[in-house]
């Protein structure tokens, strides 16, 4: 099934989506990958507030190439989600809405997706030029010193993703 939805998704929309559904997302998402996750996790461990309010929001595991003049962003495809698995259950517990990346997740993450009725989408790995066309605005909102690994707030329009782990915590990948 193919759907167009506003992101962040409502709880009902998340629970209605099933593995294999094609979704075009329009709205706001945040980027964070390895280094930003490590910092956010350290923040949580110290009992400090996160630099962004993750409640209900979607994180896209992505570090873009630099934008040429006149463009909002450079190449912008997903990175391998598995490297964030160590941090993901905690973020879901704190209210993270969902994730966009590529590749398999650990049973711990899948279980956390099920318990929190969250969702995990994949974007097509290695299609960074194509995907950049669906990003209309990009702004660094935290950890600027991390360069490509900074947290960015993105405005997306018809950003193409596929449901690879739905709210039941089962994975599409064999």
């Amino acid at each position: 099934m193919t759907k167009s939805l506003n992101v962040p998704l409502t709880q009902q929309e998340k629970e209605e989506l099933k593995n294999g559904d094609f979704v075009y997302l329009t709205g706001t998402i945040y980027t964070a990958r390895d280094a930003a996750h490590k910092r956010m996790f350290e923040c949580i461990e110290r009992g400090e507030e996160l630099p962004i309010d993750i409640k209900g929001q979607f994180i896209y595991y992505m570090g873009p190439s630099p934008a040429r003049e006149g463009r909002p962003i450079g190449s912008a495809g997903p990175t391998t989600s598995g490297r964030m698995d160590k941090y993901t259950p905690k973020l879901l517990e704190l209210g993270l809405g969902g994730m966009i990346g590529k590749g398999k997740r650990t049973p711990e993450v899948l279980n956390a997706i099920k318990e929190n009725k969250s969702i995990y989408f994949a974007a097509i790995g290695g299609a960074g030029a194509l995907l950049s066309k669906a990003i209309i605005k990009s702004e660094v909102v935290a950890y600027d010193d991390l360069g490509t690994e900074a947290i960015r707030k993105l405005e997306v329009k018809d950003f193409p993703v596929i449901v690879v782990a739905d709210s039941t915590g089962t994975m599409l990948y064999k």
């Binding site: 590529k102 590749g103 097509i124 790995g125 290695g126 299609a127 030029a129 991390l146 360069g147 490509t148």
Partner: protein, 283 residues
Amino acid sequence: MRDINVSKVTETVKEMCIEINHVLSPDMAAALDKAATNEKSELGKQVLGQLEENIKIAKADMIPICQDTGMAVIFVEVGQDVHFNCDGAASLEDAINEGVRQGYVEGYLRKSVVDDPIIRNNTKDNTPAVIHYSIVPGDKVKLTLAPKGFGSENMSRVFMLKPADGIEGVKNAILTAVKDAGPNACPPMVVGVGIGGTFEKCALMAKHALTREVGKHSDIPYVKELEEEMLDKINALGIGPAGLGGSTTALAVNVETYPTHIAGLPVGINICCHVNRHISREL
């Protein structure tokens, strides 16, 4: 003795970095095209169609094919009758790294290199490169650049097999690595394999095998057969484009071999995604 100014090396490396991150080599583009025609799964066809569209956009709008513009791996074949003129300034190594720096900074490529594997501060110019030198006959210099993305690099393996494991052991090792890589390595992949040598030699051969033109086979008859058989077996795994199922999991299996020790059978498997970038220039 032929004199080559290292500034020529810098310029060439810079140009190669920018070109290969935006324009996929003709062999890879042709392989993807063929795969899109032959893919059996509808979803797989759709993914391959998106990848072809991605390549067109990358070239037309000068947006890197993939945001992971890689760590620059460079094979430098130096003719033994070449003398590098450094103008008293940079060494050959510095000249190569300067080319990478200029290419990645001026070409809007992502800076993905950290200065230390544990401390991890980004060097902000994608240097240093990983450079492999070899001395060859003649008075030319051949530079081959293969920027390597780490989604697939992370799924690469070295197996120290026993001689008794033989060719079946090698086949199992390749299938194990590809199965474990699955969707993480951004299939359809190109699989580089090095058989023989020592621990480091097999890994280096596997890396070098990725720079071979896709569609070209080894000159050694049994190795060519192995390449063809493994490509069929990998594609029968059903992992498919983007790992979403289908008959295209790999575009090529390239194997290199080297003599080895009586006690060993090292096998290196370097997995590359569908953005298998390789470009060569001769000076």
